[in-house]
């Protein structure tokens, strides 16, 4: 490993299964840059994803990568971090993976505050199953499963995360690479659970939330915004105007590992043979 890392150090030779023009390319490339900029060694990165177009990303990142089942990336990532807190643990999923099937895990991972970075690649549709509505689809969105228009209100995952006690909250846009790299770097560097929702357009199925739509309907928080003010974060996120981008909230709070692990030694390096006299003293209680 060279002393200075470049995004290429995190690249695999695996050919992509994403459609040309997919927003997910922007997420992948920003992630590689962020990891390189932070000087992370691929051997110390554990990357976990679920299923769907977003889930494919684990195959394109040169690290220890885990492609699990739909919606369950966060329990896996939480356990990886508990098992070895020396690893940089990143999880990624889509709006369906994280906010639908994995919604329960999402809320509880946030609540536990493990030092895990969670990237939600939001395209407001189910891409890999050919364009059905998702939890973040706009009301009225017409798809195969919503032929008369999606009758539900979209879910605001960041508000849910904030309510559940997220300690780092950001939103980026996959077509704004520089800013996205910056958000991801801050999220990965944050000690605690960090969520970065990335608006990542689906060029094949979502004809509403297009690149042009996001350029038109988003804005970046300016320097006057105070990301330590939780009430301001809520207000900003529930505002019905244009969609805000940037870091909404950050807070220092003890992580799950801080509280659950009694030992500085990672669990994976704990002695397995243990102390026989201590095992014997357990047995004595049953004598």
């Amino acid at each position: 490993m060279t002393a200075v890392l470049t995004p290429k150090d995190f690249a695999t030779a695996t050919p992509s299964w994403w459609c040309p023009g997919c927003g997910d390319y922007g997420v992948l490339s920003a992630l590689k840059s962020a990891l390189a900029d932070l000087g992370k060694n691929p051997k110390d990165v554990a990357f976990v994803s679920g299923i769907g177009c977003s889930g494919k990303i684990s195959g394109y990142l040169h690290s220890y990568a885990f492609h699990g089942v739909h919606g369950r990336a966060l329990p896996v990532a939480t356990a990886v971090k508990l098992a070895n807190q020396e690893l940089t643990v990143i999880a990624a999923g889509g709006d369906g993976d994280g906010y639908a099937i994995g919604a329960g895990h999402f809320v509880h991972a946030v609540r536990r505050n493990p030092d895990v970075t969670y990237i939600v690649m939001d395209n407001q549709t189910y891409g890999l199953t050919k364009g059905q509505s998702s939890p973040t689809s706009q009301t009225g969105y017409v798809t195969g499963t919503s032929p008369n228009g999606h009758p539900e209100a979209p879910m605001n995952g960041l508000v849910v995360a904030l309510a559940a006690g997220a300690t780092f909250l950001a939103r980026g846009f996959s077509a704004h690479p520089k800013l996205l790299v910056e958000l991801l770097k801050q999220a990965i560097a944050h000690k605690g659970f960090s969520i970065v929702e990335v608006e990542s357009p689906c060029v094949t199925y979502n004809k509403i939330n297009t690149y042009a739509w996001f350029k038109e309907n988003t804005f970046y928080l300016d320097e006057t915004y105070d990301p330590t003010d939780k009430v301001a974060a809520f207000k900003t996120l529930i505002d019905e105007g244009k969609m805000p981008l940037g870091v909404f909230y950050r807070e220092d709070r003890a992580t799950l590992e801080d509280l659950a692990l009694k030992d500085a030694t990672p669990v994976v390096k704990a002695s397995l043979n243990g102390d026989l006299s201590r095992f014997a003293s357990i047995q004595d209680q049953y004598r």
């Binding site: 220890y64 990568a65 356990a79 659950a260 704990a270 026989l276």
Partner: protein, 596 residues
């Protein structure tokens, strides 16, 4: 006079203290040098509802209940009404008649009645309502001819941790009970006598504790679970002990999270397990398939209870065998091992962890409520002799946990390399050069997702080959009885106890039998079963379910056998020996087909 053989049932409302008192007397009997088995039969509620706790003590080994109850300690009338029919003629009932009386119509004349106002004595004489149960121990002790000194000594020892005052109060309560018997019933013997013999330095342990303890000693350092009866004890035990040994236990938000966390920890290189029961297993099924295809070593303890759906959470059943073996979409290698005693539970937990890592697949430790929540006496455990075999693990450099400590070279290392035994060298995050994708979708030997037809077939074969490679490492069944007997019995799990007892009694009545306690249920030990039933004219498969799941499995694998009979029980309670003896005798004396 019946010496050193008794089955006592404590019955009352949940919260009355039947379980605590039962535990206490179980401890006393163990200290007296007797063999003890306990069986909890409690409702799925916290307060109220009839609860009972069976404690069987005798000189000879026993891992199950007797045919009938010798002594019922009834804290209320409901307990008498519920269990009067299970009483052995000649047995006796201790009844708290403080506020209720026994109606004449249920008062069987072939049992002895000892009515004692336990609550009244506790309140008026001892000024402590809490000792009502301990008074019943004094009454019981006096009625079964126990040496008072032994009883007082043991009660004092059991309460010692709580301080002198508590010891004094409880010994006082025992004495009050003994005195009441002397005053009211004189030296009228109950017909039972329990005497102290040598305490051979043994343990009294619950099955779930043995599993957790065995796993800890064998290097389990991560557990995730979701509370569910009757498996919760394992998570609670681990939550107490894992942090003290460098590990961590997590109460997950649900079973899906629990199994995925277990997989995540195992992927990271920690020996990891989860424990659940039927409904939880259903939820875990998705991720168990993932562990199979990712070749990640996880141990899933299944503490079976009565289903389907939420069924009867606190009752025993063996109806999840089909689910464990055949559940899940697609096909993965997995193994199912099942202990028949508390002692085996300890060693099987350790074995499961070794098998999981050696063969990199999900291993099920299958037990059921009648074993996992029962206590039994057992010899001291030989934990010093336990070997930890981590298989083909390439751990951190200088990391002493792995017995494979080699280096890996990126570009050359293939996580899912094709090998003769189907097991590929496993590398964990943090090891340089081992970076790879663990993909739940079909992948090639390097972990790259592919739907190539040749690769698919080869990968399936590689994974399933492990089932053959592991055969020698799987526990063989235990064989009991007369090897030349023409009547063969097959069963697993908690039924070992009542079946072994049935063998002796069938033999005494002139029917020679042999019994195979299956300890590996999957991959199905075809040769073992075939060898065992060779020469048998009748085969009886004993199990706690309605459809005869093991019976059917044997018919499918070994062949249709018209001389096979299924002995089934599915009312939520464990077999009593007579419930095995009678159907066998009935079948043999009728015109059922025998192998000719």
């Amino acid at each position: 006079m019946i010496v050193n053989s008794i089955e006592i049932m404590f019955g009352g409302q949940a919260g009355d203290g039947s379980l605590t008192t039962g535990d206490l007397i179980a401890g006393v009997f163990k200290r007296m040098g007797l063999e003890v088995y306990t069986y909890k039969d409690f409702p799925s509620r916290i307060r109220g509802g009839h609860t009972n706790y069976v404690i069987r003590a005798q000189q000879r080994e026993n891992y199950g209940m007797a045919d009938m109850v010798d002594c019922l300690v009834a804290f209320d009338l409901e307990a008498v009404e519920a269990h009067i029919e299970e009483m052995r003629p000649g047995g006796f009932i201790i009844f708290d008649n403080t506020s209720e009386q026994i109606p004449a119509e249920i008062k069987r004349s072939d049992i002895n009645w000892y009515e004692v106002p336990l609550a009244k004595i506790a309140k008026e004489e001892l000024k402590a309502e809490i000792v009502r149960n301990t008074i019943s121990l004094g009454v019981l002790g006096a009625l079964i001819g126990m040496d008072p000194e032994v009883m007082h000594g043991e009660v004092a020892a059991l309460w010692k941790r709580k301080g002198d005052k508590v010891v004094e109060m409880n010994v006082g309560a025992v004495i009050a009970g003994e005195r009441y018997v002397k005053e009211q019933f004189g030296d009228r013997p109950s017909g039972y006598s329990l005497t102290k013999s040598v305490d051979g330095d043994r343990l009294l342990m619950m099955g779930n504790d043995a599993i957790a303890y065995g796993a800890l000693v064998a290097g389990c350092r991560f557990m995730a679970g979701y509370p569910i009866t009757p498996a919760t004890d394992i998570l609670e035990w681990m939550a107490k002990y894992l942090p003290r040994h460098g590990g961590v236990a997590v109460q997950a938000e649900d079973e899906l999270a629990a199994i995925n966390m277990t997989i995540g920890a195992a992927f990271t290189g920690v020996r990891a397990m989860t424990a659940t029961s039927g409904p939880g297993l259903s939820l875990m099924t998705e991720a168990i398939g993932l562990a199979g295809v990712l070749e990640i070593p996880v141990v899933i303890v299944e503490c079976a209870r009565a289903g389907p759906s939420t069924g009867m959470p606190t009752k025993t059943e063996q109806s999840n065998l089909n689910h464990i073996i055949f559940g899940g979409h697609g096909e993965i290698p997995k193994a199912v091992i099942s202990p028949g005693t508390v002692e085996e539970s300890f060693y099987f937990a350790a074995l499961a962890l070794n098998l999981a890592e050696k063969y990199q697949m999900p291993i099920f430790l299958l037990t059921e409520q009648a074993l996992c929540q029962s206590k039994a006496t057992l010899p001291l455990l030989e934990f010093e002799a336990l070997e930890i075999d981590r298989g083909k693990l390439i751990g951190h450099n200088g990391h002493t946990n792995g017995n494979g400590n080699g280096k890996v070279v990126f570009g050359e290392y293939k996580r899912f390399a094709h090998t003769e035994d189907g097991v590929s060298p496993r590398v964990i995050p943090g090891v340089d050069g081992g970076m790879h994708l663990a993909a739940g979708s079909e992948h090639n030997d390097a972990g790259v997702i592919t739907e190539n037809v040749k690769n698919r077939a080869k990968m399936m074969e590689k994974r399933m080959r492990k089932l053959e490679s592991m055969r020698e490492d799987l526990p063989k069944g235990n064989i009991f009885g007369d090897p030349s007997a023409e009547v063969a019995i097959i069963g697993w799990g908690a039924n070992r106890g009542p079946i072994v007892e049935a063998l002796d009694r069938l033999a005494a009545a002139g029917t020679k039998t042999r019994f195979l306690q299956m300890r590996t249920l999957w991959p199905f030990p075809e040769d073992e079963v075939r060898d065992f039933i060779k020469g048998a004219k009748h085969v009886f498969v004993v199990e706690n379910n309605f459809t005869g799941q093991l019976d059917r499995l044997i018919r499918v694998v070994v062949g249709p056998l018209e001389y096979m009979h299924s002995v089934r029980k599915y009312n939520g309670r464990a077999f009593r020996p007579i419930e095995i003896i009678e159907p066998i005798e009935r079948a043999l004396s009728s015109t059922v087909l025998a192998r000719t």
